[in-house]
Structures are given as structure tokens and as C-alpha cells.
Symmetry: C2
Subunit: 369 residues, 2 copies
Amino acid sequence: MHFADVLPLRSGASIRAYDLSYETYGQLNADKSNAVLICHALNASHHVAGVYLDESGQIQKKSEGWWDTMIGPGKPVDTNRFFVIGVNNLGSCFGSTGPMQTNPDTNEVYGADFPVVTVQDWVDAQARLLDALGIQTLAAVMGGSLGGMQALSWTLQYPGRVRHAVVVASAPNLTAENIAFNEVARRAIVTDPDFHGGHFYKHGVLPKRGLRIARMIGHITYLSDDVMNEKFGRQLRDAAGIKFSTQDVEFQIESYLRYQGDKFAEYFDANTYLLITRALDYFDPAGEFGGDLSRALAQASAKFLLVSFTTDWRFSPARSREIVKALLDNQIDVSYAEIDAPHGHDAFLLDDARYMGVVRSYFESKVSA
Amino acid sequence: MHFADVLPLRSGASIRAYDLSYETYGQLNADKSNAVLICHALNASHHVAGVYLDESGQIQKKSEGWWDTMIGPGKPVDTNRFFVIGVNNLGSCFGSTGPMQTNPDTNEVYGADFPVVTVQDWVDAQARLLDALGIQTLAAVMGGSLGGMQALSWTLQYPGRVRHAVVVASAPNLTAENIAFNEVARRAIVTDPDFHGGHFYKHGVLPKRGLRIARMIGHITYLSDDVMNEKFGRQLRDAAGIKFSTQDVEFQIESYLRYQGDKFAEYFDANTYLLITRALDYFDPAGEFGGDLSRALAQASAKFLLVSFTTDWRFSPARSREIVKALLDNQIDVSYAEIDAPHGHDAFLLDDARYMGVVRSYFESKVSA
């Protein structure tokens, strides 16, 4: 969807014109009351559910949407009832306008000149997409991690346009440790000689070393210590034993992380990584209320489902409980499930029966189409 | 101290001749029974206690030994009673033979050719230092973190030469997550274009980018989430507010981490970083006993003090408790203190009254000189 109107941003800058990539699943009903907007986290996209077919009509391998276990016909967010919208955020690298695209003001690739975007800016852009689709009110807005922050922000920026918010594995803001991990990842990218101050495109190189390191750090924080021990433990890659090398892979966990880093560096844009981690850092709805989250959430009028996972140390259950408490302080209707799952932050993307059951129940019993 | 004899290493390689830097504090008694060996962790050295004087006899700023709160006259490890030895490990970069020095076989700087050393190799080298000092038996061997691993290994390699082992904030081996953090740090160093396969010395450059990233990652894991929030929280560096920049410092925690990274990259050797993190990865006394730590520790005959810190998520109290349990399984005398301290892994270097009190009590009541 192309948007010809200027989008003013929280930074004071603006985007003159832009495109948003989106996908929809299910049918919008006659009174346009059954729309569910899905907000994505760091490295995901508008491709939330379903699969892609190749030219011969065969299902493309590994083309499942990133929340395909959650969304589809008969699934917890049932596309037989709901019209689900996945949208790629501004500044991302999967089709929406971002640093890899041409700046209409200069006719050069944006690169590091792409303006800094915030969670609130994304929500504004998403609201314009709904306008264009003729949807006034969302049955629900939903997301995990950074996506959950967008869902929460929707209830504050457009309280009249959201009936339900489903906020999974999220937090009211980042802790110092969260910011610290983001910063190390950003420094790895920015100090990669191939970054060229963010204008690497015109040098014909990619800062892959930095992206690999960033992704490896990210992966460690997505998993729990327990699940890493269970999956990899101290297993060696070579059954013959250790090789006594500082640079070769010795342990399976090293092999796994290198693989994840290599894969990521092939498809993800470095400037997008900087932008999205900064949007995470900046998100802090309580900030303008002197840190008082209860006062910040007084603006909300949606009903809420919060979900957290016991082993998530990136966005721990305690952070979700802060949101629950602030909502209760405002007599806002909130359901909260703390799922006992071993997978750490990654759990929000996985097919856990209790987690899926909670979301299914919520949509079946509380969210009208 | 120069050692002219070949030191065989666990890798099968050997070091032809080598030096160990060491310092001592207090007086060795007549029957040489009051020696306490201090083993250091990743970036520390033989300079364990006391200060250095400059040429005019003034105390040099910031020249305190890394465990100066713990060791000295009247301190928990009282140098009025004990003869304390600090030794810099082989492969380190503070005076003992390591990658920055000349390989006598090639007359070139070792660089990446310095052989991989293990905790056990270090203990062997330390035992030779004691031989040279005429010390048969240690009153105690003591260390924190990786230093605690060396103390534990002493009791297994030279059970007859250690009366007490004090193992602080340590673990019987690394978890997959611990290895993962080491590996990301190593990859940051090795993929820095200035690393030149570990032979950067002859190129006249240092892989500072990689070292900075490695140190930033390390620092995050040394601190607890709580103490980071207390010290830095979401405080901005600029009182005027956020600048909406992906590359400038916005938050105080970023400024702190960059400063720590910069400082470290000025003085620490990149090859040493690789060697020492690998020694951590490889340490696993239970490994040769099918993972059965109780069987592994059956070789020990020393008495033990174990100390851990509640907020240490790098080497959590649960890891110390594994060692305690395995010692108890062998009817070995072990005291264990789990100190409620907010500082994370770093707590083992800090002046905490309960921690210092426990070590003082142990040395006063149990360790004869």
C-alpha cells in the first residue's frame, strides 16, 4: 500500500511518502468489525501465517509465516472468524519503506539517513493502513516481544480503535541489561569496517561480520539457559574429542550460533537492525508520566490478555506483571497467563499447548468478531 | 621465575621454556607451611594485593591489587599469618610467557601459535613455581570464577599438596550459555580484520574492535540485571533528552559499556582472550568420569570453602551447590556460604561484609599456618 501523505515522526523528522507491505488472512466482515492486527518483532515481517506457492503451485519450503502455529483456519486466532492483517514496519527490510530503498529527496539509497522510527511512529503508520482498508476499529491488536509493545501502544495512542490487546512476552520498557545487549549488537555492526557509516550499499559490501555477532548475541538472549543445556549442553561437534583450538568450532552450541549468525547476515539489513533495536530502547510509555506506568495506562480502554513465559529472561514474567498491575490500578479488564515453558523468550513463537490454549480461549470467549 | 624444563600440555603440545610472573606478600615461615596460592580469572594478574610506588615513592593511582580488599595485613587472608603468592598464568599478557612474547623455536612473536593451555596446565605450571620456592604443601589455594576452577583442579591434580581450597563464584564446568557468550566474544575478535589470523603484531595493528565487543559482552554477564538497573536504569547521558540516533550514545549504560570496552582494548591481548576463554570452556573435571562429578572429586583430600552470590547468573549458586554435593558425597569437609549480594558475578571482587566475614572466619578458625 502506497501512502502519499507525509508521516510526521516522533524525532521531529518525517517520511515524505512510503509503502507498507502487508498480508491479510480470512475475510473482512460486512461491518468491518472482525479485524485483528498482528505486530511483528525484530526480524519478522508481514508474512504472519500461511505458506507461499512456487510457480508450479507447490508449497515453498520453509515459507510458513512466523506465527503460523497461532493464526489460520481453526487456529487460536481463527481466520474463519477474523480478518487478520500482518504488516511490515517502516524501516524494516521486507518490503516496506526502509534504509535499503531510495530516498525521494536525494535519489540515493537511504542507508543510515533513514529517519529513526519509534514504536509510536509504527502504530501511526499502521493506523493509516487501517484507514486505507476502511477499518475504523480493531477487534484486537496482538504481538509478541517488540510486537507486544506496539499492541500496548495502540491502546494508548488510539484507545477508541482497539477493543482487545494481546501482549505476549513483552515489557513496559527495556531494562538497562536489555539496552546493553542491544548496544553491543549495534556496536558490532557499526564498527564493522564494511558498515561505512551506514552507507555500505554504494560500496557494494555488507557488514556481515557485525550482523553475525549481533545475531549470535540475540540468539543467546532468546533461549533459556536450561533449554540450551538440554539442546546442546557441552556436546562436542567432533565425536573424536576436542581439538584444542581457539578458532575452530569445538562445541555444538558454537556451531549452532555460527550457523544462525551466517544465515541472518545473508538476509537482514544492518541499518534496519539499528533502527529496530533503537525503537525497542526508546519505548517507554511511562516515561512522560515520571515513570508511573499506572498513570500512563489510564489512557487505555481496551481489554487485555497478557502472556509471559517462566524461563524468559529477556522479557521476564515480572515485566508482564508490571503491566498487569498498572492495568488493574485503572480497573481495566485484564487476563494474565504465565506459561511454564522451558524455551525462554523464543517460547512466544513456539507451539506450546497451554499457551495456544490460553489465546484460543481468549479469542473464543471474549473477542467478538 | 624462569623455567628451563619443557612443560608438557594437555593438548599434546608443550612449552619449551617459559617465565612466570609472580608476587608474594607476607613471610614464608620456617617450615614453609603457611603459603596460600591465589589463582586469577580472565583479565587479572599476579598483582593480587598491595600497591605500587612510583619513582618518588608515592603510591601509584589505581595500582591496588585486584583482590586487595581480601588479602593483606589484618585482612580476611591475613598476610601477617600467611605467605600469599599471586601468579600470572601461562598465556596471559601480564609478564608470564604468552602470545605477545617470542617463540624460541621460530624467533617470532607467538601470536596465534601460542599453544592452547588448560586449567590443568596452569596448575602444573603453578606447582613448578612452588617447587622452585621450596614449598611442598599449600595451606590453601584460592580463586574466584576461573580462579576457583584452578583451586578445584589443584585438589584433584595434587591432592597431597593442598590442605584447603577456597572456591569462590565458580562452577564445575561451563554451561552451554557460558560457552555461547565466550564464543561470541571470540568471533568478534577473530573476525576483526585487524586480527590477521592472530598475527596482528607483525602488522602493527591491534584487533581493538573485537576486543571492545568482547569486553562489552563480558561486562553484561558480570553484572546482575538488578544492579544494572540500580546503577544505570534508563538514565540518559544527555539531560536534554534523547537525540534519536542509532549510533550516538543515548543511555548511560551505553556510555559505561563503551568506556569499559575502550579501556580493555588498550591493555589486553587478543590471543590471550581466546586462550583464557577456551581454558574456561574446556574445564570439566567430571568429563573423564562420564559426567559424574562425585566420582571426579573422589580424588580430593583437601578441606573446602565454597562461596557463591545470589545474583550471579554467570556462575549461579546452583553450580557451586553441585560441587558442594559432590564433595559431601565423598565425605569431604566442606563449608558453603551463599551470599545475598546484588552485584552479580562481580561480587567476588567487591568488599561485601558478609563475604569477607565468611572468608575471614574460615581462615581464622580452620586454616593453620
